[in-house]
Symmetry: C2
Subunit: 256 residues, 2 copies
DNA sequence: GGGCGGCATTGACATGTATCAATGACCCTC
DNA sequence: GAGGGTCATTGATACATGTCAATGCCGCCC
């Protein structure tokens, strides 16, 4: 049990936004938190319900969802190791949170968390910064989703994974040929997340693979070979122009 | 000058998220803030630059943008009366902010704002709640953008305007026939915001108009006649089914 | 007043993507 | 090992949307 607490603290320390916490506050946190486990597809927080804890992800991946009027759910974000969730000073969650994979979270009783917050002024900037970062991340998603073409969205998604999940080894692994990304959700969920359909995801992914930008090792393991080309694909379909140009050159070579 | 301060306070009090502030803090705010004016398309905050103030919108509309690698700008959100912007305890903005229309903002020097924050503990929940609300709003945008069909995105956009800009009379006006929404940005910007092109915006808007869901009084003045149908269009294209059904019935009537 | 430029709209066309249907791979259970 | 389920993939087709081009409207400046 003592071992588990230490592990918990370790995971917390690793999370960037809260890394500015002072040692004495860590001790307090260590006493407060409880580790909870969830299985894939289990619901952690129901939308519109009062939640009595603030959570921090220790392992696994969670998805935030909004349930639409017709019953379908729209994914609005993913949570990974080190991410906090739950509304401080308000208990009502706007979005429900479900485990995408088997998950361990660290739960802080909300009342105690808030009390700690008001008591220690040095904690406040950290929490606010955390909120601001979360906001920026949500806006990153916005940019990806505003991409007209699906290939662009997928490229943006992969790049976002790289930038956000850096250092989380069960998701991102550097290799000599490139970077391997583990997609923590199914094609269907990914399609949903990017505002499209599984079929389109499949096609776009294979299109990128055909161009040599990525390798599909397994359906959920993507190897990024050419990060620059991927960035081009995300920002614009400038890559298309390059591909067409290359094809033209090739035809020119083979023709005579 | 004294008059202007009173007006400023009035506008601030009207803003929902900060409405929980105590009177004594208002006095402090009132002393601190400076009113600044911007003309349409003027830049208020440059991305990646250190900003020395926290802003609150008094009048007009601002757009938050991310400048992409290729020079184009992607709009990630709109700011209206009562919205705060600027990162507390950090100064570096991730996104640039530009005036979409002529704008008046209230600027708090960042250092003083932060000092005030640490001094008065009752302010903290308000600021955190504000951040959380902002986050939820960003995720609302996400849901709208994840809509596959453009009509759905526009419907979602109009509904978001209704829910967010309630009470801001120069944007939203209740009328006997419905609710009039003033679109504060050009078709091009709107298209950009919704991840599409001006032509598609135009077509979708007129499609909704043909169905009687909305009226286009002027290009930038939309009258929502049937809020329920709009919600259906946003959530799903169930409205399509209705339209097809109605057309079938009409054909059936005219045929014999 | 006339010319100019920006904006919204419309049409025709090409392209991308959703949709439907079918297949194969994998995992789980029996 | 057989059978049923889910998931990824692929193909064919219809539809929505991007793209290009042309028009008309309006405000601005000379």
């Amino acid at each position: 049990m003592e071992e588990h607490r230490k592990e918990t603290r370790l995971s917390l320390v690793k999370s960037t936004p809260f890394s500015q916490l002072r040692p004495e506050t860590w001790d307090a946190l260590e006493v407060m938190c409880r580790v909870k486990s969830y299985r894939a597809n289990q619901t952690v927080v129901h939308a519109q319900e009062r939640s009595y804890f603030i959570g921090c992800v220790l392992s696994g991946v969670l998805r935030m969802e909004k349930t639409l009027a017709d019953g379908r759910a729209q994914i609005v974000g993913l949570l990974v190791q080190g991410d906090f969730f739950g509304r401080v000073f308000d208990g009502i969650a706007e979005f429900s949170i479900e485990a995408a994979t088997d998950t361990e979270i660290c739960a802080f009783p909300r009342a105690e968390f808030e009390a700690l917050l008001t008591q220690s002024p040095d904690l406040e900037p950290a929490v606010l910064l955390n909120a601001a970062n979360e906001l920026d991340r949500a806006r990153e998603w916005l940019i990806i989703l505003s991409n007209q073409k699906i290939v662009g969205r997928i490229a943006g998604f992969l790049l976002l994974m790289c930038s956000r999940f850096r250092g989380i080894d069960h998701i991102l692994q550097p290799r000599p040929e490139g970077v391997e990304v583990k997609i923590p959700i199914s094609r269907g969920d990914l399609a949903h997340l990017l505002g499209t359909r599984p079929e389109s995801i499949s096609r776009s992914l294979h299109s990128l693979s055909d161009r040599g930008v990525i390798d599909i090792l397994e359906p959920d393991r993507i190897l990024i070979r050419d990060m620059k080309a991927l960035a081009l694909a995300a920002d614009e379909d400038e890559i298309e122009a390059i591909a067409i140009l290359q094809k033209l050159l090739k035809n020119h070579r083979t023709e005579p």
